[in-house]
Symmetry: C2
Subunit: 320 residues, 2 copies
């Protein structure tokens, strides 16, 4: 037997860097791919011409496989799809939409397709749509989030039991121990977001990176459930939304409070008071900003230590 995600993507380690809004430029994707993981450019916050430049620069910066994440709700999606096909991007992650829409088309151009889901139901739909692998993302994940609120610990074994294709676990993973835990639960690989927000190569504003480093357990919350659920660091903007929801504000009112470009304002422009700061619960365990290569190296050594610990620390683990 072999690791199916390592084989599928032709990478060295089954560690995927999440393609995130405003945080995942070519610099990050190339650094992760050059370190043996899979780097992913986040196309959601890029104009079509911007994505094209990022893909071209990424190809210049690495000879290793990399991917692009395209949310299926993106308004100019045809242009993004044309870019990944024209530029021969080897792997595309799709999210936030129906996996039937683009999977066949992308695969007919030799592109491997991975779809991101947050429930068993959509995992099964994605498999039926012919995707090559699935990312199953738990409630603790940052950014946009499923309505089922199923956590990684509960979602991964359930999806693993019900699908045959390779499974990538996401949500709450920022350490080698968590990678090992996810694999014990049935994942073939992991997707890591928050930890790479706090990388040197991330395009997150320094103020946002500082917020991630400073945040503690309980400092994120899932809001805008009636619009599109999103996990944010608690700040004045998030508090305003939270209070509006408590008093039963309408979807229209919530959309008005949200306004436009809140994510850019917070994550890219560094307005930590009025911006949207999308991050996972595991930000509480992220205490520094490191180069992506160092993050990968550290994850691998933590992972190996966790395995060794299980073998050596006999009485702690050997009671069965």
């Amino acid at each position: 037997m072999t690791n199916r995600i390592i084989e599928l993507f032709s990478i060295k380690f089954p560690i995927i860097q999440a393609g995130m809004l405003w945080c995942s430029p070519w610099e990050l994707a190339a650094a992760v791919s050059n370190s043996g993981g899979l780097g992913v450019i986040g196309a959601a916050s890029m104009y079509p011409e911007v994505l094209k430049i990022h893909v071209q620069k990424c190809k210049q910066a690495t000879e290793k496989p990399f991917a692009v994440n395209i949310p299926l709700l993106y308004p100019n999606i045809e242009e993004h799809m044309r870019t990944v096909i024209d530029e021969k991007v080897p792997i595309v992650f799709t999210s936030a939409g129906n996996p039937k829409l683009w999977t066949k088309h992308l695969k007919s151009h030799g592109i491997k397709v991975v779809h991101v889901v947050s429930s068993v139901k959509f995992a099964l739909k994605s498999e039926a749509a012919g995707v090559d692998a699935i990312v199953a993302e738990g409630f603790e994940a940052g950014g946009h989030n499923g309505r089922e609120e199923t956590t990684t610990l509960c979602l991964i074994p359930d999806v693993a039991k019900q699908i045959k294709i390779p499974l990538i676990a996401a949500g709450g993973i920022a350490s080698g121990e968590a990678i090992l835990a996810a694999m014990v639960l049935g994942a073939d690989a992991v997707q890591i977001g928050s930890k790479f927000v706090a990388s040197i190569e991330s395009s997150a504003h320094q103020n946002f990176k500082d917020e991630v480093v400073d945040s503690k357990e309980g400092d994120t919350s899932l809001v805008l459930k009636s619009v599109t659920p999103v996990r944010l660091i608690r700040n004045e903007f998030q508090q305003r939304v939270f209070e509006a929801e408590q008093r039963g504000a309408s979807v229209n009112e919530l959309k008005q409070i949200l306004g436009r470009a809140r994510a850019k304002k917070g994550m890219f422009e560094g307005d930590i008071i009025e911006g949207e700061l999308e991050i996972g619960q595991i930000a509480s365990m992220i205490n520094n900003v490191k180069p992506a290569a160092q993050i990968i190296t550290d994850l691998i050594s933590e992972y190996n230590e966790a395995k060794t610990d299980m073998l050596d620390n006999k009485n702690h683990f050997n009671w069965g």
Copy 2:
């Protein structure tokens, strides 16, 4: 090194059966303790004289250590505390309140005290209050739940890093793989609830057990956040509460909808439409009702298989 919870409680396996409302009578606690885990009587739903009978019967049914779970909000708490002291119950789990209130008193009578928390902050407070161990319970857990909504995957490593006393992980654990995952994340032991609701010895109504067995991923939801957050199986009662919350119903209105004795109605009397059915997300993975002894045996063999799998399945795990 040894397993600290096995030592602390003088048990064989670091598996604790959660002391649950309406579901954890002496029959269940004794069966779990006789199987090498720690059985726990759930005192929250018992009148003082009922608890006394359950403790006495449990002592007759097992010579092994067992515990009683007492929520600190219980109205006649002095009587419950007198019972556990008079009857020389070796271990008490406290929850839902300030760990300073009773810890010293119980310990002065030679009772080991464990406090249940859902955040790092309360884990630190509990340690400072002198408890012997902590249960840290994630968002996915059934029944009453923390406001921070931190999942087991994110909570356990954070608490493990910050406290020195033994740590028991709870929420989302119903398999040997999940036990191993929790221990990899830094737990010394696990507390398992939902799986034991679906045991022969549980006092849950058969209708409720059937609901647990039938439930799928996404079938629970956390409601009553402005009153006391509680995770329930979706049914007509839960839907009514959910809709009231969506339109910003007041705490008073929600309390009126809740009424009295909903938990008893649902879990003990079997009204699966109008009752409160408290269960964890991991109910989705529970597919049968078994004797408690069989549940323990199965968990141990799954746990051992998961460990062996990690050693044998070399390419899946050995890429670091």
